[in-house]
Symmetry: C2
Subunit: 279 residues, 2 copies
């Protein structure tokens, strides 16, 4: 684990580490914000944030304006990259496939299966590494994300509720099996068998797994330029079906970007803080 950047920030430290990932078979980076409580050796709660298409481990760190509230509440923020990277890693034909577009799943079709193992990377390798290297309170890890990363957060939380105690999302891709971004990614990464796709589709997972969280928070802008890719209504219906409490907030005038995210980031972090601190 190599520390490649560190900056004092709100009396804590924003860091970037580079590691050799077994799951991704290559080098990858992640950002981590350590509040002063963590630097002082206290156990902290932690939040994984999964970013959207084209983003990296830096996007949230720079644009989401999350450090101030995380510092105040004493929460560690972990921001992995969105895909494997490198010369020997398959590239897509466009920004919605391949590098920058890993979709937080384990690919099973070639040429993607070789490196695109983001699910294992996040929930096994990075999750373990964070617990080994930093002082994390027992059973106090949440997950959230944006767009493709909102899909990642919802699906990984539903698949691994024993690992993630709280989950929220900004403008998540709720039903990737039923939208162009998801159909493209899943047909490449998973092949044509749509039964495989449903294992990584938040709407389908909610219906099959049932209510798993005390509450889920989703914020969605109503001026989102990618609204038709996102299907919050389908996720709302799925939650209703299985009695999963959901706070779905739709915001007039807000679009898909980080100006939207920064506006509501404090609400999300407060939401996780409450969920993570109740037993």
């Amino acid at each position: 684990m190599e520390l490649v950047q560190h900056n004092r920030c709100f009396d804590g430290e924003q860091r970037v580490y580079q590691i050799q990932s077994k799951a991704l078979k290559g080098s990858t980076k992640f950002g981590i914000f350590l509040p002063k409580q963590a630097l002082a050796g206290q156990e902290c709660t932690a939040l994984f944030y999964l970013a959207g298409l084209t983003c990296t481990e830096e996007t949230f760190v720079i644009k989401a304006h999350a450090q101030k509230i995380a510092a105040k509440l004493g929460i560690i923020l972990i921001t992995p990259d969105t895909s494997p990277r490198g010369e020997d890693v398959a590239k897509g034909d466009h920004w919605d496939l391949g590098q920058g577009a890993g979709f937080y799943i384990n690919a099973i079709a070639q040429p993607w299966a070789e490196h695109y193992q983001m699910e294992s990377y996040i929930v096994d390798e990075l999750y373990t590494l964070i617990h080994d290297e930093f002082l994390i309170q027992d059973n106090s890890v949440g997950i959230f994300g944006h767009s493709m990363g909102g899909h990642g957060a919802l699906t990984l939380a539903l698949k691994y509720p024993e690992k993630f105690k709280s989950v929220s999302a900004f403008a998540p891709i709720c039903a990737p099996s039923q939208c162009p971004w998801g159909e493209k990614a899943f047909s490449h990464y998973l092949g044509d068998d749509r039964s495989q796709w449903l294992k990584h589709d938040a709407v389908a997972l909610m219906e099959s797994k049932g209510a798993s969280f005390k509450e889920i928070l989703i914020d969605q802008g109503l001026n989102d330029q990618f609204y038709t890719q996102l299907s919050p209504a389908l996720f709302e219906q799925a939650c209703l079906k299985v009695n999963q409490p959901l706070i779905l907030r739709e915001h007039e005038g807000y679009d898909h970007g980080y100006f939207f995210i920064q506006t509501f980031i404090e609400d999300h972090i407060q939401f996780h803080n409450q969920q993570l601190r109740t037993s």
Copy 2:
């Protein structure tokens, strides 16, 4: 004035405009955050923010995390680019000269004098445009900036106290006549006559103009990788000499970047808010 980007943000709007500048003889962009009070037609206070070397009109907008507090206090934030741009605009040999490094002065030496008229652009052209196009409270404009832009904020405030009622800076270049960045820029933009340089040097201006502000706020990181370029002690001495109240805060562990700025941005905006609202 062409609106090239606009995003809802904290119930206000973050915009980018493109204009044809007479002073710069070319196209330039500026960012403006309009809090909801401004969108609703209320007169607001306003703050010009001048960014540092290599930055653009976007840097502060993305990295400083200022919108939340500006929204709360009802303050308009204006972020010009740091230099003229374009194919026909002279370029320097490095990132500390030429495009991205305008130093907020009017160049008098060639080839720079043709386009590098940032002082006139900011204090005449853009200042007037903002007052014409938006509802600004009388005598309620402040200025602040970072590094090269901190130099810009201090010097423009001292030169035009009738235009700027409050001034603060993050890690400003306080004595450009006495540091490598300033010596390089001033020798190119102003020529070898050092008496010209002193007209654009905050330490020299403070001594010649005398106390002009109720108070000035400067934040400086003690782990700043460019500390030797900045000379806060010289500015402090100059302020002492002329009885200019100065709050110079030095912060252990903080460096030169926007993680430092975001940590103290709220203090600066609150500082301006207080100064701008008192008569």
